[in-house]
Symmetry: C2
DNA sequence: GTCTATATAGGGATAGAC
DNA sequence: GTCTATCCCTATATAGAC
């Protein structure tokens, strides 16, 4: 089992249980590796496992979302590409976001820097795309924030109601939020 | 110290740390009561403390938000009253929402029923207000969902960026989301 | 690399004095 | 009602065999 395959299992646990809920026992069970083996891969312990997960997620989004945001296609197509990737990334809203679950409690103390940097990067890229459509910088930034807000909010609603429709609608609404209104 | 005052301190810890992060040690420190004293108030232990917190929050929102949603004033005024109460309830976005932090991991297993029932109640009341303005039931429900989504999403953004402006804007936008568009 | 076994700290929870 | 002292369990982490 490659290290990347291990990390993918860790991702699942951290996203669903949060940092404090992601016990080494659960991480061990999910990966099929005994605790000592996990510590062989990640000598910094659970904190390093979480960092590896954050890094993996940042790379995935960079490759699948941010790249298409920066392509040379028209803004609308780039937004649609992002929407599609997000639908996959959040598994139709059923997979929680690390930004949400890692910005709470002890995890927030440990990883705030990474989370903030990542979110700002995302917002900056989105703002640029909106600006290209002739929108003023400040308003473009607000639209970018609105877009991420509705996605994050939809994920909360889905978790609580077990209904993925709000997420589907939020994703479908992204072009309108960013390009119209 | 009255039991209500104790619960108010518990609320703070659960909202900021989530269920698994809200250790009895932290709860003890926050309330100024030693562990054994907490167990005197809440014989069901930490789970009962969380239930008391959920109950307290539900009552607060019922009294301060839901009541004004059901008043006999015009819809716009009721929405504005709700917005104002929410600004207070979330302390300008700096106080996390239990719906978000308790819908993760073990807490979600324990409290899903309460969370879902509460959220559905809120959505139903909001939907009714929107319907009164002549909007079809299905669209009214979507507007209600959009409103709660943007608030929940704003709370995530505030936690990660340490900037309360997105929350302020989300609150200010509620009348538009619910009554215009 | 992966395991069993174990060390150490902190979690939730209780007994019983005051 | 509140406390000190304590129990048991699980959490994180490590040692060392294979």
């Amino acid at each position: 089992m490659s290290k990347e395959q291990v990390i993918r299992q860790l991702v699942f646990v951290f996203r669903h249980y949060g940092y404090e809920g992601a016990t080494v026992s659960r991480l061990s069970e999910a990966t099929g590796l005994k605790k000592a083996s996990l510590y062989h891969y990640f000598q910094g312990g659970k904190e390093q496992m979480a960092l590896a997960v954050l890094d993996y997620i940042a790379n995935w989004l960079d490759k699948n979302v941010f790249t298409s945001l920066q392509s040379d296609k028209p803004p609308r197509e780039r937004i649609q590409a992002m929407s599609q990737s997000l639908d996959e990334f959040y598994d139709c809203g059923q997979m929680p976001c690390l930004l949400s679950v890692m910005s709470v409690g002890e995890a927030n103390d440990l990883f705030h820097q990474q989370l903030e940097q990542f979110l700002n990067h995302w917002l900056t890229l989105l703002t640029k795309v909106v600006q290209e459509t002739g929108v003023e910088p400040q308003l473009a930034r607000q639209k970018a924030e609105d877009a991420l807000m509705i996605v994050q909010g939809a994920l909360v609603l889905v978790r609580v109601t077990n209904d993925i429709q709000p997420f589907k609608r939020a994703i479908a609404k992204l072009p309108q939020i960013l390009l119209e209104d």
